[in-house]
Protein backbone atom coordinates (compact mmCIF):
# COMPACT_ATOMS: atom_id res chain seq x y z
CA UNK A 1 0.00 0.00 0.00
CA UNK A 2 1.39 3.39 -1.00
CA UNK A 3 1.23 6.37 1.44
CA UNK A 4 -2.36 7.45 1.78
CA UNK A 5 -1.68 11.16 2.33
CA UNK A 6 -0.22 11.64 -1.16
CA UNK A 7 -1.67 12.02 -4.63
CA UNK A 8 -0.25 10.33 -7.71
CA UNK A 9 0.09 10.60 -11.48
CA UNK A 10 -0.25 7.73 -13.93
CA UNK A 11 3.44 8.33 -14.71
CA UNK A 12 4.36 7.40 -11.11
CA UNK A 13 5.09 10.81 -9.59
CA UNK A 14 3.74 11.56 -6.11
CA UNK A 15 2.81 14.96 -4.70
CA UNK A 16 2.25 16.16 -1.15
CA UNK A 17 0.08 19.28 -1.13
CA UNK A 18 0.21 21.76 1.72
CA UNK A 19 -1.88 24.85 0.92
CA UNK A 20 -0.39 26.34 -2.20
CA UNK A 21 2.92 24.56 -1.65
CA UNK A 22 3.63 21.06 -2.92
CA UNK A 23 6.47 18.55 -2.73
CA UNK A 24 7.07 16.18 -5.67
CA UNK A 25 8.96 12.90 -6.11
CA UNK A 26 8.66 9.53 -7.80
CA UNK A 27 7.05 6.49 -6.22
CA UNK A 28 8.81 3.51 -4.74
CA UNK A 29 7.34 1.41 -7.54
CA UNK A 30 8.86 3.69 -10.19
CA UNK A 31 12.25 3.71 -8.47
CA UNK A 32 12.15 -0.08 -8.31
CA UNK A 33 11.28 -0.39 -11.98
CA UNK A 34 14.16 1.89 -12.97
CA UNK A 35 16.67 0.10 -10.76
CA UNK A 36 19.74 1.83 -9.38
CA UNK A 37 19.18 5.51 -10.00
CA UNK A 38 22.39 7.30 -10.95
CA UNK A 39 21.31 10.78 -11.96
CA UNK A 40 18.42 13.19 -11.55
CA UNK A 41 18.15 16.29 -13.71
CA UNK A 42 15.97 18.97 -12.14
CA UNK A 43 14.87 22.45 -13.25
CA UNK A 44 16.27 25.66 -11.80
CA UNK A 45 14.37 27.55 -9.12
CA UNK A 46 11.84 29.96 -10.54
CA UNK A 47 10.97 27.98 -13.63
CA UNK A 48 7.30 27.54 -14.40
CA UNK A 49 6.05 24.01 -14.91
CA UNK A 50 2.68 22.97 -16.29
CA UNK A 51 0.66 20.02 -15.07
CA UNK A 52 1.66 16.77 -16.80
CA UNK A 53 4.50 18.49 -18.71
CA UNK A 54 8.06 17.14 -18.41
CA UNK A 55 10.18 18.97 -15.84
CA UNK A 56 13.24 16.78 -15.60
CA UNK A 57 14.85 13.43 -16.21
CA UNK A 58 15.78 10.49 -14.04
CA UNK A 59 18.45 8.02 -15.13
CA UNK A 60 19.29 4.57 -13.92
CA UNK A 61 22.22 2.48 -15.14
CA UNK A 62 20.43 1.35 -18.28
CA UNK A 63 17.23 3.37 -18.52
CA UNK A 64 16.09 6.93 -18.65
CA UNK A 65 12.71 8.40 -17.93
CA UNK A 66 11.11 11.83 -18.15
CA UNK A 67 9.65 13.34 -14.99
CA UNK A 68 6.20 14.91 -15.26
CA UNK A 69 4.82 17.63 -13.04
CA UNK A 70 1.70 16.52 -11.13
CA UNK A 71 0.55 20.12 -10.76
CA UNK A 72 1.26 23.52 -12.33
CA UNK A 73 3.34 26.09 -10.54
CA UNK A 74 6.77 27.62 -10.18
CA UNK A 75 9.76 25.77 -8.83
CA UNK A 76 10.43 26.95 -5.25
CA UNK A 77 13.21 24.45 -4.54
CA UNK A 78 14.98 21.48 -6.13
CA UNK A 79 16.58 18.76 -4.02
CA UNK A 80 20.29 19.48 -4.46
CA UNK A 81 21.18 16.47 -2.31
CA UNK A 82 20.27 14.23 -5.26
CA UNK A 83 23.20 15.60 -7.25
CA UNK A 84 25.70 13.86 -4.99
CA UNK A 85 23.44 11.06 -3.78
CA UNK A 86 20.89 10.04 -6.41
CA UNK A 87 20.52 6.73 -4.56
CA UNK A 88 18.29 8.60 -2.05
CA UNK A 89 15.51 8.15 -4.60
CA UNK A 90 15.86 4.36 -4.30
CA UNK A 91 16.37 4.38 -0.54
CA UNK A 92 13.76 6.89 0.62
CA UNK A 93 11.53 7.85 -2.32
CA UNK A 94 8.85 9.58 -0.23
CA UNK A 95 11.26 11.32 2.14
CA UNK A 96 14.83 12.36 1.46
CA UNK A 97 14.43 11.34 -2.16
CA UNK A 98 12.00 14.20 -2.89
CA UNK A 99 12.74 16.18 -6.05
CA UNK A 100 10.86 19.49 -6.26
CA UNK A 101 8.96 21.95 -4.16
CA UNK A 102 6.39 23.90 -6.15
CA UNK A 103 4.44 27.06 -5.47
CA UNK A 104 1.14 26.07 -7.04
CA UNK A 105 -0.65 28.29 -9.52
CA UNK A 106 -3.79 26.14 -9.82
CA UNK A 107 -4.23 24.06 -6.64
CA UNK A 108 -7.58 22.77 -7.89
CA UNK A 109 -5.73 20.63 -10.41
CA UNK A 110 -5.17 18.16 -7.60
CA UNK A 111 -8.59 16.75 -8.38
CA UNK A 112 -7.21 15.33 -11.60
CA UNK A 113 -4.67 13.17 -9.72
CA UNK A 114 -5.05 9.64 -8.44
CA UNK A 115 -5.51 8.93 -4.77
CA UNK A 116 -3.62 6.14 -3.02
CA UNK A 117 -6.29 3.51 -3.70
CA UNK A 118 -6.47 4.33 -7.39
CA UNK A 119 -2.69 4.36 -7.73
CA UNK A 120 -2.40 1.04 -5.92
CA UNK A 121 -4.85 -0.40 -8.41
CA UNK A 122 -2.81 1.03 -11.27
CA UNK A 123 0.42 -0.64 -10.23
CA UNK A 124 -1.34 -3.87 -9.32
CA UNK A 125 -2.57 -4.00 -12.92
CA UNK A 126 1.09 -3.74 -14.06
Amino acid sequence: MVPSDLRYTKDHEWVRVDGDEATVGITEYAAGQLGDIVFVELPEVGREVAQFAAFGVVESVKAVSDLFAPLSGSVAAANDALTGAPELVNGDPYGEGWMLKLTLSTPAEVDELLDATAYDALIAAG
Binding site: V38, F39, E41, V57, E59, S60, V61, K62, A63, V64
Partner: protein
Protein backbone atom coordinates in the same frame (compact mmCIF):
# COMPACT_ATOMS: atom_id res chain seq x y z
CA UNK B 1 32.14 -18.67 -51.25
CA UNK B 2 35.60 -17.89 -49.90
CA UNK B 3 35.00 -17.84 -46.16
CA UNK B 4 31.92 -19.99 -45.63
CA UNK B 5 32.08 -23.40 -43.93
CA UNK B 6 29.03 -25.12 -45.39
CA UNK B 7 29.33 -28.24 -47.49
CA UNK B 8 26.44 -29.27 -49.69
CA UNK B 9 25.68 -31.89 -47.03
CA UNK B 10 25.53 -29.28 -44.27
CA UNK B 11 23.06 -27.20 -46.23
CA UNK B 12 20.91 -30.25 -46.92
CA UNK B 13 20.88 -31.17 -43.25
CA UNK B 14 19.76 -27.67 -42.28
CA UNK B 15 17.08 -27.60 -44.95
CA UNK B 16 15.85 -31.02 -43.82
CA UNK B 17 15.63 -29.81 -40.22
CA UNK B 18 13.49 -26.93 -41.46
CA UNK B 19 11.41 -29.26 -43.61
CA UNK B 20 11.99 -27.35 -46.83
CA UNK B 21 13.59 -28.34 -50.11
CA UNK B 22 15.21 -25.05 -51.09
CA UNK B 23 16.60 -21.99 -49.37
CA UNK B 24 14.36 -19.98 -51.71
CA UNK B 25 11.44 -20.86 -49.41
CA UNK B 26 13.06 -18.68 -46.75
CA UNK B 27 12.72 -15.67 -49.04
CA UNK B 28 9.06 -16.21 -49.96
CA UNK B 29 8.16 -13.29 -47.69
CA UNK B 30 9.70 -10.83 -50.16
CA UNK B 31 6.82 -9.67 -52.34
CA UNK B 32 7.24 -11.20 -55.76
CA UNK B 33 7.15 -7.90 -57.59
CA UNK B 34 10.00 -6.59 -55.46
CA UNK B 35 12.39 -9.52 -55.77
CA UNK B 36 15.77 -8.67 -57.23
CA UNK B 37 17.26 -10.18 -60.34
CA UNK B 38 20.95 -11.00 -60.49
CA UNK B 39 23.77 -8.98 -58.99
CA UNK B 40 25.86 -7.61 -61.81
CA UNK B 41 29.27 -7.49 -60.16
CA UNK B 42 32.73 -8.60 -61.25
CA UNK B 43 34.37 -11.65 -59.73
CA UNK B 44 34.50 -13.79 -57.68
CA UNK B 45 38.26 -13.73 -57.60
CA UNK B 46 40.56 -16.25 -55.86
CA UNK B 47 42.85 -14.81 -53.21
CA UNK B 48 45.98 -15.12 -55.34
CA UNK B 49 44.55 -13.03 -58.17
CA UNK B 50 42.82 -10.60 -55.85
CA UNK B 51 46.07 -9.95 -53.99
CA UNK B 52 47.74 -9.12 -57.29
CA UNK B 53 44.94 -6.75 -58.25
CA UNK B 54 45.11 -4.94 -54.92
CA UNK B 55 48.87 -4.63 -55.15
CA UNK B 56 48.56 -3.17 -58.64
CA UNK B 57 45.97 -0.64 -57.49
CA UNK B 58 48.10 0.40 -54.52
CA UNK B 59 51.02 0.71 -56.93
CA UNK B 60 49.12 3.24 -59.02
CA UNK B 61 49.29 5.69 -56.11
CA UNK B 62 52.52 7.65 -55.93
CA UNK B 63 53.79 7.65 -52.36
CA UNK B 64 57.49 7.97 -53.17
CA UNK B 65 57.54 11.77 -53.35
CA UNK B 66 59.33 14.03 -50.89
CA UNK B 67 56.19 15.23 -49.14
CA UNK B 68 55.65 18.51 -47.31
CA UNK B 69 51.90 18.10 -47.19
CA UNK B 70 50.21 18.36 -43.79
CA UNK B 71 47.04 20.43 -43.51
CA UNK B 72 45.54 18.32 -40.76
CA UNK B 73 47.20 14.96 -41.51
CA UNK B 74 50.85 14.43 -40.70
CA UNK B 75 53.56 11.89 -41.48
CA UNK B 76 55.26 10.63 -38.34
CA UNK B 77 57.40 7.71 -37.32
CA UNK B 78 55.20 5.05 -35.78
CA UNK B 79 57.11 2.58 -33.61
CA UNK B 80 56.83 -0.90 -35.12
CA UNK B 81 55.12 -2.40 -32.10
CA UNK B 82 51.99 -0.28 -32.63
CA UNK B 83 50.72 -2.06 -35.73
CA UNK B 84 51.96 -5.48 -34.58
CA UNK B 85 49.82 -5.18 -31.48
CA UNK B 86 46.83 -3.84 -33.41
CA UNK B 87 46.93 -6.96 -35.57
CA UNK B 88 45.93 -9.17 -32.67
CA UNK B 89 42.47 -10.50 -33.46
CA UNK B 90 41.44 -10.08 -29.81
CA UNK B 91 41.52 -6.32 -30.44
CA UNK B 92 40.25 -5.79 -33.93
CA UNK B 93 37.66 -8.58 -34.21
CA UNK B 94 35.83 -7.68 -30.99
CA UNK B 95 33.04 -5.13 -30.89
CA UNK B 96 31.78 -2.56 -28.41
CA UNK B 97 32.36 -3.92 -24.88
CA UNK B 98 28.68 -4.48 -24.07
CA UNK B 99 29.63 -7.53 -21.96
CA UNK B 100 32.25 -6.12 -19.59
CA UNK B 101 33.13 -9.50 -18.07
CA UNK B 102 34.73 -10.62 -21.34
CA UNK B 103 35.86 -7.21 -22.61
CA UNK B 104 38.19 -6.03 -19.88
CA UNK B 105 41.05 -5.66 -22.37
CA UNK B 106 39.16 -3.19 -24.53
CA UNK B 107 37.66 -1.46 -21.51
CA UNK B 108 40.95 -0.94 -19.68
CA UNK B 109 42.57 0.23 -22.91
CA UNK B 110 39.84 2.84 -23.35
CA UNK B 111 40.15 3.96 -19.72
CA UNK B 112 43.87 4.35 -20.29
CA UNK B 113 43.21 6.25 -23.53
CA UNK B 114 40.93 8.62 -21.62
CA UNK B 115 43.65 9.05 -19.00
CA UNK B 116 46.50 9.61 -21.48
CA UNK B 117 44.54 12.18 -23.46
CA UNK B 118 43.36 13.87 -20.27
CA UNK B 119 47.03 14.40 -19.42
CA UNK B 120 47.75 15.79 -22.86
CA UNK B 121 44.84 18.24 -23.05
CA UNK B 122 44.73 18.95 -19.31
CA UNK B 123 40.98 18.40 -19.10
CA UNK B 124 39.23 15.72 -17.05
CA UNK B 125 36.74 14.04 -19.33
CA UNK B 126 37.78 12.41 -22.61
CA UNK B 127 35.23 10.61 -24.75
CA UNK B 128 36.24 7.20 -26.07
CA UNK B 129 36.59 8.55 -29.64
CA UNK B 130 34.75 10.25 -32.48
CA UNK B 131 35.06 9.79 -36.23
CA UNK B 132 37.75 12.39 -36.89
CA UNK B 133 38.84 15.89 -35.98
CA UNK B 134 36.12 17.50 -38.06
CA UNK B 135 33.26 15.47 -36.61
CA UNK B 136 34.66 15.92 -33.09
CA UNK B 137 34.74 19.69 -33.63
CA UNK B 138 31.16 19.63 -34.90
CA UNK B 139 30.08 17.64 -31.83
CA UNK B 140 31.91 20.20 -29.67
CA UNK B 141 29.91 22.96 -31.32
CA UNK B 142 26.63 21.14 -30.66
CA UNK B 143 27.73 20.54 -27.06
CA UNK B 144 28.10 24.27 -26.43
CA UNK B 145 24.55 24.81 -27.64
CA UNK B 146 23.12 22.08 -25.38
CA UNK B 147 25.07 23.31 -22.36
CA UNK B 148 24.19 27.00 -22.71
CA UNK B 149 20.76 26.57 -24.34
CA UNK B 150 21.89 29.09 -26.92
CA UNK B 151 21.91 28.56 -30.68
CA UNK B 152 24.77 30.57 -32.16
CA UNK B 153 28.39 29.46 -32.46
CA UNK B 154 31.38 31.45 -33.70
CA UNK B 155 34.19 29.64 -35.48
CA UNK B 156 37.52 31.14 -36.41
CA UNK B 157 38.21 31.27 -40.12
CA UNK B 158 41.63 29.92 -39.26
CA UNK B 159 40.05 26.52 -38.48
CA UNK B 160 40.57 23.80 -41.11
CA UNK B 161 38.10 24.46 -43.96
CA UNK B 162 36.85 20.85 -43.81
CA UNK B 163 36.06 21.30 -40.13
CA UNK B 164 34.15 24.50 -40.84
CA UNK B 165 32.21 22.76 -43.62
CA UNK B 166 31.45 19.85 -41.29
CA UNK B 167 30.25 22.25 -38.61
CA UNK B 168 28.00 23.90 -41.18
CA UNK B 169 26.47 20.55 -42.16
CA UNK B 170 25.94 19.46 -38.54
CA UNK B 171 24.37 22.85 -37.84
CA UNK B 172 22.03 22.35 -40.82
CA UNK B 173 19.28 21.30 -38.41
CA UNK B 174 18.60 24.90 -37.44
CA UNK B 175 21.55 26.22 -35.40
CA UNK B 176 23.51 29.29 -36.39
CA UNK B 177 27.18 29.30 -37.32
CA UNK B 178 29.24 32.43 -38.01
CA UNK B 179 32.87 32.82 -38.97
CA UNK B 180 35.33 35.07 -37.18
CA UNK B 181 37.52 36.74 -39.82
CA UNK B 182 41.31 36.64 -39.92
CA UNK B 183 43.61 39.54 -39.16
CA UNK B 184 44.50 40.81 -42.63
CA UNK B 185 47.99 42.21 -42.08
CA UNK B 186 50.61 43.14 -39.53
CA UNK B 187 52.26 40.91 -36.95
CA UNK B 188 49.09 38.95 -36.24
CA UNK B 189 48.15 38.36 -39.90
CA UNK B 190 46.51 34.97 -40.43
CA UNK B 191 45.26 34.61 -36.85
CA UNK B 192 41.78 35.11 -35.43
CA UNK B 193 40.71 38.76 -35.41
CA UNK B 194 40.07 39.58 -31.73
CA UNK B 195 38.36 42.89 -32.44
CA UNK B 196 35.95 41.18 -34.80
CA UNK B 197 35.34 38.44 -32.23
CA UNK B 198 34.50 41.08 -29.64
CA UNK B 199 32.02 42.70 -32.02
CA UNK B 200 30.36 39.38 -32.82
CA UNK B 201 30.10 38.54 -29.12
CA UNK B 202 28.64 41.96 -28.37
CA UNK B 203 25.44 41.42 -30.34
CA UNK B 204 23.18 41.36 -27.30
CA UNK B 205 20.10 40.01 -29.07
CA UNK B 206 21.98 36.95 -30.34
CA UNK B 207 23.86 35.34 -27.46
CA UNK B 208 26.75 33.06 -28.35
CA UNK B 209 26.93 29.46 -27.13
CA UNK B 210 30.52 28.73 -28.09
CA UNK B 211 33.67 30.16 -29.65
CA UNK B 212 35.91 27.78 -31.62
CA UNK B 213 39.57 28.50 -32.34
CA UNK B 214 42.56 26.30 -33.13
CA UNK B 215 46.09 25.94 -31.78
CA UNK B 216 48.11 25.86 -33.97
CA UNK B 217 45.60 27.19 -36.48
CA UNK B 218 45.12 25.83 -40.00
CA UNK B 219 47.91 28.06 -41.32
CA UNK B 220 50.29 26.71 -38.68
CA UNK B 221 50.23 29.94 -36.67
CA UNK B 222 49.95 30.25 -32.91
CA UNK B 223 46.78 31.94 -31.71
CA UNK B 224 46.25 34.10 -28.59
CA UNK B 225 44.17 31.32 -27.03
CA UNK B 226 43.99 32.76 -23.51
CA UNK B 227 42.65 36.03 -24.90
CA UNK B 228 40.06 34.30 -27.11
CA UNK B 229 38.92 32.26 -24.11
CA UNK B 230 38.66 35.36 -21.94
CA UNK B 231 36.46 37.11 -24.53
CA UNK B 232 34.26 34.01 -24.94
CA UNK B 233 33.74 33.57 -21.21
CA UNK B 234 33.09 37.29 -20.80
CA UNK B 235 30.06 36.85 -23.04
CA UNK B 236 28.87 33.71 -21.25
CA UNK B 237 30.00 31.45 -24.08
CA UNK B 238 32.01 28.25 -23.84
CA UNK B 239 35.46 28.07 -25.40
CA UNK B 240 36.37 25.20 -27.73
CA UNK B 241 40.03 24.65 -28.57
CA UNK B 242 40.86 22.63 -31.70
CA UNK B 243 44.18 20.95 -30.99
CA UNK B 244 46.86 18.86 -32.67
CA UNK B 245 47.91 16.27 -30.07
CA UNK B 246 51.66 16.00 -30.73
CA UNK B 247 52.04 19.76 -30.31
CA UNK B 248 50.62 19.46 -26.79
CA UNK B 249 53.94 18.04 -25.63
CA UNK B 250 55.35 21.54 -26.02
CA UNK B 251 52.43 23.96 -26.37
CA UNK B 252 50.19 25.06 -23.51
CA UNK B 253 47.29 22.60 -23.22
CA UNK B 254 43.62 23.67 -23.46
CA UNK B 255 43.09 23.24 -19.71
CA UNK B 256 45.89 25.71 -19.02
CA UNK B 257 44.27 28.55 -20.97
CA UNK B 258 40.71 28.01 -19.85
CA UNK B 259 39.20 25.99 -22.67
CA UNK B 260 35.99 24.19 -21.73
CA UNK B 261 36.23 21.70 -24.57
CA UNK B 262 39.10 20.38 -26.67
CA UNK B 263 38.55 18.72 -30.05
CA UNK B 264 41.03 17.58 -32.62
CA UNK B 265 42.47 15.00 -34.95
CA UNK B 266 44.34 12.13 -33.31
CA UNK B 267 45.87 10.84 -36.55
CA UNK B 268 49.40 12.06 -35.68
CA UNK B 269 49.43 9.58 -32.77
CA UNK B 270 50.52 6.47 -34.63
CA UNK B 271 47.85 6.37 -37.36
CA UNK B 272 48.76 6.25 -41.05
CA UNK B 273 47.27 8.75 -43.53
CA UNK B 274 45.26 6.11 -45.52
CA UNK B 275 43.79 8.73 -47.83
CA UNK B 276 41.38 10.09 -45.25
CA UNK B 277 40.79 7.57 -42.51
CA UNK B 278 40.00 5.83 -40.34
CA UNK B 279 41.33 8.46 -37.96
CA UNK B 280 40.62 9.43 -34.39
CA UNK B 281 38.33 12.25 -33.31
CA UNK B 282 39.51 13.57 -29.96
CA UNK B 283 36.86 15.17 -27.77
CA UNK B 284 37.48 16.26 -24.18
CA UNK B 285 35.80 18.57 -21.69
CA UNK B 286 35.82 19.86 -18.17
CA UNK B 287 34.06 17.84 -15.47
CA UNK B 288 31.24 20.37 -15.51
CA UNK B 289 30.25 19.23 -19.02
CA UNK B 290 30.42 15.48 -18.40
CA UNK B 291 26.70 14.97 -19.07
CA UNK B 292 26.86 16.94 -22.31
CA UNK B 293 29.78 15.14 -23.88
CA UNK B 294 28.69 12.69 -26.59
CA UNK B 295 30.23 9.28 -27.23
CA UNK B 296 31.18 6.41 -24.99
CA UNK B 297 32.83 6.79 -21.61
CA UNK B 298 34.55 4.03 -19.68
CA UNK B 299 34.95 4.21 -15.93
CA UNK B 300 36.82 2.26 -13.29
CA UNK B 301 34.71 0.32 -10.82
CA UNK B 302 34.78 -3.04 -9.02
CA UNK B 303 33.27 -6.45 -9.67
CA UNK B 304 31.21 -8.52 -7.24
CA UNK B 305 34.38 -9.74 -5.58
CA UNK B 306 35.67 -6.21 -5.11
CA UNK B 307 38.34 -6.49 -7.78
CA UNK B 308 39.19 -3.48 -9.91
CA UNK B 309 37.41 -3.60 -13.26
CA UNK B 310 36.17 -1.29 -16.00
CA UNK B 311 32.78 -0.68 -17.55
CA UNK B 312 31.03 1.64 -19.99
CA UNK B 313 29.28 4.24 -17.89
CA UNK B 314 26.89 7.20 -18.07
CA UNK B 315 25.22 5.13 -20.79
CA UNK B 316 21.89 6.90 -20.46
CA UNK B 317 23.27 9.81 -22.53
CA UNK B 318 23.55 7.51 -25.52
CA UNK B 319 21.25 6.84 -28.46
CA UNK B 320 20.39 3.23 -27.64
CA UNK B 321 18.81 4.33 -24.36
CA UNK B 322 17.79 7.96 -24.76
CA UNK B 323 16.85 7.70 -28.46
CA UNK B 324 15.58 11.10 -29.73
CA UNK B 325 16.91 12.91 -26.63
CA UNK B 326 20.44 11.47 -26.84
CA UNK B 327 23.49 13.71 -26.72
CA UNK B 328 24.41 12.45 -30.21
CA UNK B 329 23.50 9.64 -32.61
CA UNK B 330 27.05 8.20 -32.46
CA UNK B 331 27.23 4.44 -32.01
CA UNK B 332 30.19 2.86 -33.82
CA UNK B 333 33.24 4.97 -33.02
CA UNK B 334 36.98 4.70 -33.71
CA UNK B 335 38.03 2.48 -30.81
CA UNK B 336 40.83 0.69 -32.64
CA UNK B 337 42.40 4.03 -33.52
CA UNK B 338 42.15 5.17 -29.91
CA UNK B 339 44.03 1.97 -29.07
CA UNK B 340 46.68 2.84 -31.67
CA UNK B 341 47.08 6.28 -30.11
CA UNK B 342 47.42 4.77 -26.64
CA UNK B 343 50.07 2.26 -27.70
CA UNK B 344 51.89 5.04 -29.54
CA UNK B 345 51.89 7.29 -26.48
CA UNK B 346 52.87 4.46 -24.14
CA UNK B 347 55.77 3.54 -26.40
CA UNK B 348 57.06 6.97 -27.30
CA UNK B 349 56.63 8.32 -23.75
CA UNK B 350 56.57 11.92 -22.53
CA UNK B 351 60.14 12.69 -23.56
CA UNK B 352 59.74 11.01 -26.92
CA UNK B 353 56.60 13.00 -27.66
CA UNK B 354 58.38 16.22 -26.75
CA UNK B 355 61.20 15.20 -29.08
CA UNK B 356 58.76 14.55 -31.92
CA UNK B 357 57.21 18.00 -31.50
CA UNK B 358 60.53 19.80 -31.05
CA UNK B 359 62.19 17.94 -33.91
CA UNK B 360 59.28 18.95 -36.17
CA UNK B 361 59.75 22.57 -35.11
CA UNK B 362 63.47 22.36 -35.86
CA UNK B 363 62.93 20.76 -39.27
CA UNK B 364 60.28 23.34 -40.11
CA UNK B 365 62.62 26.22 -39.27
CA UNK B 366 65.20 24.73 -41.60
CA UNK B 367 62.54 24.31 -44.30
CA UNK B 368 61.41 27.93 -43.92
CA UNK B 369 64.96 29.12 -44.32
CA UNK B 370 65.60 26.97 -47.39
CA UNK B 371 62.37 28.02 -49.09
CA UNK B 372 63.00 31.70 -48.38
CA UNK B 373 66.41 31.33 -49.98
CA UNK B 374 64.76 29.68 -52.97
CA UNK B 375 62.44 32.68 -53.40
CA UNK B 376 59.38 31.62 -51.39
CA UNK B 377 59.17 33.67 -48.18
CA UNK B 378 56.61 33.01 -45.43
CA UNK B 379 53.23 34.68 -45.90
CA UNK B 380 52.63 35.49 -42.23
CA UNK B 381 55.15 36.96 -39.83
CA UNK B 382 53.78 35.40 -36.62
CA UNK B 383 55.20 32.45 -34.68
CA UNK B 384 54.50 28.90 -35.91
CA UNK B 385 55.37 25.40 -34.76
CA UNK B 386 55.96 23.08 -37.72
CA UNK B 387 53.66 24.26 -40.50
CA UNK B 388 53.49 27.58 -42.36
CA UNK B 389 52.38 29.23 -45.59
CA UNK B 390 54.84 30.49 -48.21
CA UNK B 391 54.27 32.95 -51.03
CA UNK B 392 54.86 31.37 -54.45
CA UNK B 393 53.88 33.07 -57.69
CA UNK B 394 51.58 30.83 -59.71
CA UNK B 395 51.38 28.44 -56.75
CA UNK B 396 49.04 26.00 -58.49
CA UNK B 397 51.24 25.63 -61.55
CA UNK B 398 54.42 25.36 -59.51
CA UNK B 399 52.84 22.75 -57.24
CA UNK B 400 51.83 20.63 -60.25
CA UNK B 401 55.20 20.88 -61.95
CA UNK B 402 57.07 20.03 -58.75
CA UNK B 403 55.34 16.63 -58.74
CA UNK B 404 57.43 15.82 -61.81
CA UNK B 405 60.51 16.79 -59.84
CA UNK B 406 59.60 14.31 -57.12
CA UNK B 407 58.25 16.85 -54.64
CA UNK B 408 54.78 17.09 -53.11
CA UNK B 409 55.00 20.78 -52.28
CA UNK B 410 52.35 20.94 -49.58
CA UNK B 411 48.90 22.26 -50.35
CA UNK B 412 47.77 24.97 -52.79
CA UNK B 413 45.89 27.19 -50.35
CA UNK B 414 43.68 28.75 -52.99
CA UNK B 415 42.22 25.29 -53.67
CA UNK B 416 40.97 24.87 -50.12
CA UNK B 417 40.46 28.51 -48.99
CA UNK B 418 39.29 30.03 -52.29
CA UNK B 419 37.69 33.07 -50.68
CA UNK B 420 40.82 34.56 -49.05
CA UNK B 421 42.56 36.86 -51.56
CA UNK B 422 45.67 37.17 -49.39
CA UNK B 423 46.29 33.45 -49.94
CA UNK B 424 45.79 33.43 -53.72
CA UNK B 425 49.41 32.50 -54.42
CA UNK B 426 50.48 30.49 -51.42
CA UNK B 427 51.46 26.98 -50.45
CA UNK B 428 50.90 25.47 -47.00
CA UNK B 429 53.92 23.33 -46.11
CA UNK B 430 54.97 21.34 -43.06
CA UNK B 431 57.87 19.37 -41.68
CA UNK B 432 57.96 16.68 -39.02
CA UNK B 433 60.63 14.50 -37.45
CA UNK B 434 60.62 12.29 -40.57
CA UNK B 435 61.48 15.17 -42.93
CA UNK B 436 65.13 14.81 -43.96
CA UNK B 437 67.75 17.39 -44.93
CA UNK B 438 67.92 15.75 -48.34
CA UNK B 439 64.17 16.22 -48.87
CA UNK B 440 64.39 19.87 -47.84
CA UNK B 441 67.30 20.42 -50.21
CA UNK B 442 65.42 18.67 -53.01
CA UNK B 443 62.34 20.84 -52.47
CA UNK B 444 64.35 24.07 -52.31
CA UNK B 445 66.38 23.26 -55.41
CA UNK B 446 63.34 22.20 -57.40
CA UNK B 447 61.42 25.28 -56.35
CA UNK B 448 64.33 27.55 -57.24
CA UNK B 449 64.60 25.98 -60.68
CA UNK B 450 60.88 26.21 -61.20
CA UNK B 451 60.72 29.88 -60.18
CA UNK B 452 63.69 30.70 -62.36
CA UNK B 453 62.09 29.04 -65.36
CA UNK B 454 58.75 30.73 -64.85
CA UNK B 455 60.45 34.12 -64.32
CA UNK B 456 61.97 33.55 -67.74
CA UNK B 457 58.54 33.18 -69.25
CA UNK B 458 56.54 35.80 -67.39
CA UNK B 459 54.27 36.29 -70.34
CA UNK B 460 53.35 32.63 -70.38
CA UNK B 461 52.25 32.51 -66.76
CA UNK B 462 48.79 33.97 -67.22
CA UNK B 463 47.97 31.56 -70.03
CA UNK B 464 49.50 28.70 -68.09
CA UNK B 465 47.35 29.37 -65.06
CA UNK B 466 44.15 28.99 -67.05
CA UNK B 467 45.38 25.65 -68.33
CA UNK B 468 46.43 24.56 -64.84
CA UNK B 469 42.90 25.00 -63.64
CA UNK B 470 41.80 22.00 -65.66
CA UNK B 471 39.56 19.50 -63.93
CA UNK B 472 42.22 17.17 -62.56
CA UNK B 473 44.33 19.78 -60.85
CA UNK B 474 41.50 22.01 -59.71
CA UNK B 475 39.80 19.05 -58.11
CA UNK B 476 40.12 20.54 -54.67
Amino acid sequence: MPYGPHTAGDRERMLATLGIDSVDRLFDDIPEALRAGRLDLPGPEPELELAGRLQALAGRNRTDLASFLGAGVYRHWTPANVDQLLLRGEWYTAYTPYQPEISQGTLQSIYEYESLLAELVDLDVVSASHYDGAAATAEAGLMTCRATRRERVLVSKAIHPHYRQTLAAYFGGGLELEEIPLVADGDAAGTTDLAALERLLGDAGRPVAGVIAGQPNFFGLLEPMAEIGRLAHGAGALFVSVIEPVSLAVLAPPGAYGADIAAGEGQPLGISPQYGGPYLGILASTDALVRQIPGRLVGMTTDVKGRRAYVMTLRAREQDIRRDKAASNICTNQALLALAASIYLATIGPHGLRDVAAQGAARAARLAEALADAGAPRVHPGPYLNEFAVRVPDARGVHRRLLDRGVLAGLVLADIVPDEPSLADALLVCATEVTTDAEIAQFAAALKAELRESAGQVGAVAAGRAADAGPVEAAR
